[in-house]
Subunit: 204 residues, 2 copies
């Protein structure tokens, strides 16, 4: 084994390199040459494995999109205690983002450039079952545990608080004067902060 990559299949090396380049530069900014270089092969081979840049991109995008879309609806409609659902969601989601800090910007960028096409390719054509979330909330309201709130607004709040700091990572690092490791510490600490912020707001 000469280096770390030599025991991986060529296809795996390409996918790994493509993920890195696409998530950093976006579809338009990425260069097939860069992907080839990073994978340690040449351009022609990229076209041999994946017909075109667009095809390669689509593979990467769908793979990453699945990672980005949190199972927030499933989680909020599960049978865990309500506040525990929130804590779990925040914890898991921020952990994913610490491991994949470029993910949110990558996904949102491409969804915006391709609004109608991609948004529906991620989910099926079906509507998201947001009504179930509203029922779960209303149940807690009736029990007198939380204040009334719209399911959409609550989900927006939860996702916003988790994701935005990563979208604005360079700005946050500038304002907080932190390096990468310190930024991750900050986000680790933020798990508790966000959970507390949400629960304190909901609690009656």
């Amino acid at each position: 084994m000469v280096n770390k990559k030599s025991d991986k299949s060529t296809e795996e090396k390409i996918l790994e390199a493509a993920k890195a380049v696409f998530t950093e530069k976006g579809l338009d900014g990425a260069r097939m040459q860069d992907i080839a270089d990073k994978a340690g092969i040449n351009k022609a081979l990229l076209h041999y494995y994946f017909r075109s840049k667009d095809k390669l991109f689509e593979v990467i995008f769908l793979e990453q999109a699945a990672k980005f879309m949190p199972g927030i609806i499933d989680m909020l409609t599960s049978d865990m205690p309500f506040f525990q659902k929130i804590e779990k969601f925040v914890d898991v989601y921020i952990s994913v983002l610490i491991e994949n800090p470029l993910l949110p910007l990558f996904i949102l960028n491409e969804v915006n450039k391709n609004a109608q096409g991609l948004a529906k390719k991620i989910w099926g054509g079906g509507k998201p079952p947001i009504a179930g979330v509203q029922q779960a909330i209303d149940k807690e309201v009736k029990k007198g545990i939380i204040k009334p709130i719209s399911a959409l607004q609550l989900m927006l709040n939860m996702v916003s608080l988790c994701v935005f700091p990563f979208l604005a990572k360079p700005l946050v690092q500038f304002i907080s004067q932190t390096n990468n490791a310190q930024f991750n510490q900050l986000m680790e600490a933020r798990k508790k902060e966000v959970t507390k912020f949400i629960i304190d707001s909901l609690r009656k």
Copy 2:
């Protein structure tokens, strides 16, 4: 006056068109031809007024960046009542975003691609005076009005809750099944929701 644009200077027409195309497509995705078409002129004239695509982009970027960076620090250190500061910030910021929904993604994208260069071009080299915000918060804590919180985390929360829905606008529209006008209504309603959400969380 034949049309709306005929009484504007050529430079103004270019800037207007460039803003529209760059904010929609980003630096890499934008085409000089598209900008020329939208401005009602030809490509050569773009280079006559601005030397290159990059130069033109920089003008647009700096102009838009100023709009995006909210005066959150100034606002939080002003002498308004504390909860009123929050309400005002949310109201003003979401209004700006309703008028410029593409602004956040545009800015964050380019800041990320150019982390070191642009972040410092926006502000001067100086550190942001976040310490003043912490003092303003601590004062309210001592008065017994709010719970203790880090200035950075609070500012992150406030900005996250306002900005993220616009970054994820296509996804939000899909989930909430809304058209543009309905989305704007949703964001208008969100002003009160976000203000309430933040204040409920901070209040003792």
